[in-house]
Amino acid sequence: MADHALTHDEVVAPHGVHEHPFYQKHHFETAEQQREAAGFGMWLFLLTEIMFFGGLFMAYLLYRNWYYDAFVSGSNTLSLSLGLINTIVLIGSSLTMAMAVWAAEVRKQGALVMYLVATIVLGCVFLGIKTVEYKEKFELHHVPGASFDISEFVHPTDKAEKPLPVDMANKTQIYFSLYFAMTGVHAFHMIIGLGMLIYFVIKARQGLYTTGYVQPIENFGLYWHFVDIVWIFLFPLLYLINRH
């Protein structure tokens, strides 16, 4: 289906004094103004998210440079295949979310619900795999804290891995701290997103978003894509530091 630009008149309600769409709040003059304000507001919220994750990326950048060997060793204990699958799954969920926005815009209710559900499913797959990964880390005593065990790094079972001096091996705890902090905060954002998606599915089945009231789906899409972008950076930074 070809893209086309809707004209102004297709979007905005007629200029009668009291005629405006049911979803337009009274402090807005037109629905278009409301939509643009909502979108802009969501972008500003995403700015705060950039800076929130930004602090974590700053910490990562510093310690990766200071303790490169520890970061390499830590990174190599993560499952590359699970990380790759998760990346494909999450980017796929971005695709389904973008399709959901399109479906809302062209008012195809069935497609909208289907794409929203697909996004939820893919998001759950991602979190499921993440749970598996976290569980593995618990079992290997790679969770920072009292039970952290560095023996794997001092005497690696995998012969291809470089053994670390005790000093540097201790620094792997910082790597895993950042791993859990960054993927944890990311997962937290996904859980919130999934909760909202469930709400959107319910409302979409009632037909709310195929009346021209696209902005909630549109703006949630922005949020979901942002969460995807964070992962696009987390994957190489955490999993792919040095895999040869």
């Binding site: 289906m1 070809a2 893209d3 086309h4 630009a5 809707l6 004209t7 102004h8 979007v11 905005v12 200029h15 807005f28 003059e29 037109t30 278009e32 103004q33 643009e36 979108g39 802009f40 972008w43 500003l44 700015l47 950039i50 800076m51 930004g54 602090g55 990326f57 700053m58 950048l61 510093l62 440079n65 200071w66 590359l80 790759l84 990346t87 494909i88 980017i91 796929g92 971005s94 695709l95 979310m97 973008a98 399709m99 399109w102 062209v106 899409g221 922005l222 894509h225 995807d228 972008i229 696009i232 950076f233 994957f235 190489p236 930074l237 792919l240 530091i241 040095n242 895999r243 040869h244």
Partner: protein
């Protein structure tokens, strides 16, 4: 109340009684619907990028490992921002907002790292 000027022009500098919310102001962009074809194309590009970054991590790139990985990630992110998030079809205001976010992040990183890099003692 003050005198009203009634005008039928859609000139942002002449207040128009029929455009009370300045809808046609310079910050307004024509609404553009991105279709499935574009989305699938972008998805394909992102998959290529993903495979590329895994492959690149297995190559002995030495000092270029990190820059290459970041370059690929940034490129992927740019495609998501421009197409999935519709920034390519958005107003200048939205584009500026996105730029402002990444600019501020870069200030945090660059100016903090400049402290760490220029320390004359240990660690670096």
């Amino acid at each position: 109340m003050s005198d009203y000027k009634v005008s039928t022009k859609h000139d942002p500098h002449t207040p128009d009684k029929h455009d009370p919310a300045n809808v046609t102001n310079p910050e307004h962009a024509e609404h553009h619907i991105v279709g499935p074809a574009t989305y699938l194309g972008i998805f394909a590009i992102l998959m290529v990028g993903t495979i590329l970054t895994v492959v690149a991590s297995r190559l002995p790139l030495g000092i270029f490992t990190a820059p290459v990985a970041l370059a690929i990630a940034v490129t992927k992110a740019v495609f998501v921002v421009l197409f999935f998030m519709h920034v390519k079809y958005s107003t200048r205001l939205v584009k500026l907002t996105v730029a402002a976010g990444f600019f501020t992040f870069s200030i945090l990183v660059i100016m903090s790292m400049s402290d760490y890099i220029s320390r004359a003692w240990g660690q670096w």
